[in-house]
Amino acid sequence: MAIITAPGTVRVHLNGLKRDDSGRNGCHGGREKNGPRVGVGSSQHSRHETFEQPPMYVAVMTYVGYGIVTLFGYFRDFLRAVRIEKCNIAQEREDQKDFTPLYQDFENFYTRNLYMRVRDNWNRPICSLPGPVFDLMERVSDDYNWTFRFTGRTIHDVINMGSYNYLGFAENNPDFLKTVADHLQKYGAGVCSTRQEIGNLRMHEELEQLVADFLGVESSMTFGMGFATNSMNIPALVGKGCLILSDELNHTSLILGARLSGATIRVFKHNNMLSLEKMLKEAVCSGQPRTHRPWKKILIMVEGIYSMEGSVVQLPEILALKKKYKAYLYLDEAHSIGAVGATGRGVTELFNVNPADVDVMMGTFTKSFGAAGGYIAGRKELVDYLRGHSHSAVYASAMSPAITEQIIRAMKCIMGKDGSTEGIRRIRQLSENTRYFRSRLKELGFIIYGSDESPVVPLLLYMPGKVVAFAREMLARKIGVVVVGFPATPITEARARFCVSAAHTRDMLDQVLHHLDEVGDGLCLKFSRRVFSSRPEL
């Protein structure tokens, strides 16, 4: 409760849509920025994460490319304004032209002039199970992507490198899905009520007990939607007068939940323990702005695996910091539960820490379990409090019985409770696939972000023209990839994000790598300047 002399200012960073590039961690100067330097102790296994920088001409040409397209965007907007060209996108009505403009901000400009030109690479309709291979509906556009029409043909057996199908549970094998079909027959598809009213089925309680056993904690609670788990439960945990320290690259659901809660939000640099420690020190010393009272709660929000970078959180260091400064930890394991760790228990197992040390463990069932929904797990008092006070628990309708059974059977499979070794086989297969894919991509000469354990592999493409050409070329070769640009990533770091799955065979991965090699040469995407040897010990 020290009274500070210098005025403390509240810096509320908006880690919303537009992130600028300046926040990269562990500055070394030079072309490769290693993973961040550790502030408080280091983990036993050094997790090697690199975020290699491209040559200078790549950054320059990326800006040039965006500049040219923006100029043409202004030109086309001008043509639309003087009615030389027809406007195909939403506009204000004639009699509302003098009101406050709705469509003049940057986001709408970007959508009209950049996204619409190339939007055939997103929202592609699929017409089969999103397993390791899937079918796409072929669609063409006659007016440069303003409207689409289906040709009626289906593109069969496209290799799926975009679905979050880490353990391959998105399957339609009748043997595996027998219990799901039985429950669907017995209970129907919907529950038609909330958990607190009449929607609490016995299988929901069974699922919660199973999740708690799986994670090694006292108790857990499940919700019907993963996004809603974050955005509706954080307001129940923190409120005005609390401090949230959130990582720079947190998911929108965490940011939304933090903003809804009304707490003060401060952003620390991605995975940077020095930045976090500095903020914790300042928070404990200065207290709340203006009144300097101590904060009611300090909550550190991090994710297990960050889905755009493929980087893994530094859990041991954060736990040490948390204990030292008496803060609470909220760990969002959406992408890491089931996907990392020797038996699929997530980052707590990966780093060998006691799960009871993490105050709030959150995760989703969408990624590794092939279902939908989320959970929050922790001590019994926490979960009992959330049952009564969370918006999602009180108002959202309960999880569908078929989905609940899918999660139960997937979790039993992973834990080995169904009596087979299928679960552990899938986890090992995923780990092997991840290592193989990542090392081969580095050998080929692409710039890959993230840690070697994460099954999310972002491949950097940088230039907007190349991003679009890459997606189209890969589809022509029957490989479905997800490309992401601004605003989900910084404007100069557009990327293709691959999600390796346990259901991919070595053959499929080899095929993908072969095509990546060819496309990489044809589009000049191999920017890496590291000399990579497959036998470093020699």
Partner: protein, 68 residues
């Protein structure tokens, strides 16, 4: 045969130029507009160089007293 290879190589370079300058995302008439602007500016620069280069070179040589 060699002309075919040459054409393929040139075609590949043009494709790279389209990708790097993001003209790949634009419609064909916009590409034509941009290319003609670029060529006209480059052409004017070359023409100016051609017209004024002898004068400039003579002035430099005169300054360094290599020629009267």
């Amino acid at each position: 045969m060699a002309l075919g290879d040459c054409w393929k190589q040139l075609s590949w370079f043009y494709y790279q130029y389209l990708l790097v300058t993001a003209l790949y995302m634009l419609e064909p008439w916009e590409r034509t507009v941009f290319n003609s602007l670029l060529i006209s500016v480059a052409g004017m620069a070359i023409y100016t160089g051609y017209v004024f280069m002898p004068q400039h070179i003579m002035a430099i040589l005169h300054y360094f007293e290599l020629v009267q």
